[in-house]
Amino acid sequence: MASAAGSTAAVPFWRAAGMTYISYSNICASLVRSCLKEPHKTEALNREKVHFAVSKWADGKAEKPTLRSDTPGE
């Protein structure tokens, strides 16, 4: 077990890989959703659709928006 002494504690593998807790739990959730049987599976996969356009701003100017339109399952 890693010691709980400050910053020398071993972070979980997903935090070390750069994921936030939110993305980690999302991946777990999509794994659970893909374990379902039909017809619940298609209903659940409908709840996973992602679509939005995000654009970073630098100095008062918007850069080209990146479309985050994932198919379900991130």
């Binding site: 807790y21 939110i22 739990s25 996973e48 659709k49 939005f52 654009s55």
Partner: protein, 322 residues
């Protein structure tokens, strides 16, 4: 308004007799407006056209109201159910809008579509007030704008302070995965000590409350925990699983942000539908009032033209006899 219309039509004859060229132009303009080319008597065409377009507008706004009502019903239950997601977090970590931090990020939630009354303006007004409150010598405040309408308003005077802008969020029905990906993007791209989410909390169809929800970063939570209060009681909780308190705090604050943002977006969408319903309702009522007034004008104009024709016929006939 009816009298003014009659006066305008009566004036049509007078300038035709003057020799002033300006008046002649004006008279032709007036007669163009009141009657189509070549009409011999007072025409009700213009009023009839206006009545037809107002009636169409009334139908359209009534239909939009029905659509908004049905959408409202669907999304209201989801918003109320999502309230249970962040309530444990508020119980655990508290919601302290008065916290004083260096890096504030104001997340303004608004709609993409218009015709929804004043909700977007109130959100932007509150965001601006927050920004003023939190911009000082050492502090700074940046915007993350969700939705087209707030972006359009904030561009006007706060261009430099916008970090991210997100649009097209409501293309698919709102779900947690979408908001989670969005929250992930925000967390990865923006440095923050405190996130202040500005949205409109849904209360009833005609009533919504502009709300600010504050989510702190783990470091600030640690700092506030030392000064006591709700956060100071965090140490009395047992942590399972061999993780450190810092790790747990980090996971908790990230998840808190995701849940609070999900609820905020749902509540704002519900308030948007409610505001649209009442806006379209008042719009169709106004159109109905306008239609009543136009009908009165129309009838008066029609009766006046009939009377004029009768007078002409009778005077012509009596001239022949006499």
């Amino acid at each position: 308004m009816a009298m003014a219309a009659l006066r305008r039509e009566g004036r049509r004859f007078a300038p035709l007799m003057s020799h002033n060229p300006i008046n002649a132009v004006r008279s032709s303009l007036i007669s163009e407006e009141l009657a189509p080319q070549g009409a011999r008597s007072i025409s009700t065409q213009v009023v009839r056209n206006r009545m037809k377009s107002v009636k169409n507008i009334q139908k359209i706004t009534k239909a939009m109201k029905m659509v908004a009502a049905s959408k409202l019903r669907a999304i209201q239950t989801r918003a109320e159910n999502s309230r249970g997601l962040w309530q444990p977090f508020s119980a655990l970590l508290g919601d302290t809008p008065s916290v004083d931090v260096k890096k504030n990020v104001i997340v303004t939630v608004s709609s993409d579509k218009g015709l929804c009354g004043g909700i977007n303006s109130t959100s932007v007004k509150i965001s601006r007030a927050l920004h003023k409150l939190n911009a000082g010598p050492e502090k700074e405040a940046k915007y993350v704008v969700v939705g087209e309408k707030a972006k359009a308003q904030l561009i006007r005077d706060s261009r430099k302070d916008i970090e991210l802008s997100i649009t097209e969020l409501q293309k698919n029905p709102l779900n947690y995965t979408q908001v989670a990906v969005l929250a992930d993007d925000i967390l990865k791209n923006v440095e923050y000590d405190a996130l202040r989410i500005v949205f409109n909390k849904f209360h009833s169809v005609v009533q919504y409350y502009p709300t600010i929800a504050t989510v702190l970063s783990p470091e600030v939570v640690e700092r506030e925990a030392e000064s006591g209060g709700k956060l100071g009681e965090l140490d009395s909780y047992e942590i399972e699983g061999g993780e450190t308190k810092a790790e747990v705090l980090q996971n908790l604050t990230e998840f808190q942000f995701g849940c609070v943002l999900y609820n905020a977006i749902l509540e704002n969408a519900t308030s948007e539908q409610g505001a649209r319903m009442s806006a379209m309702d008042s719009s169709s009522r106004n159109a109905g009032d306008m239609l009543d007034r136009l009908t009165l004008t129309y009838n008066r104009t029609r009766q006046a033209s009939i009377t004029t024709e009768l007078i002409e016929i009778i005077s012509g006939a009596s001239a022949l006899e006499g």
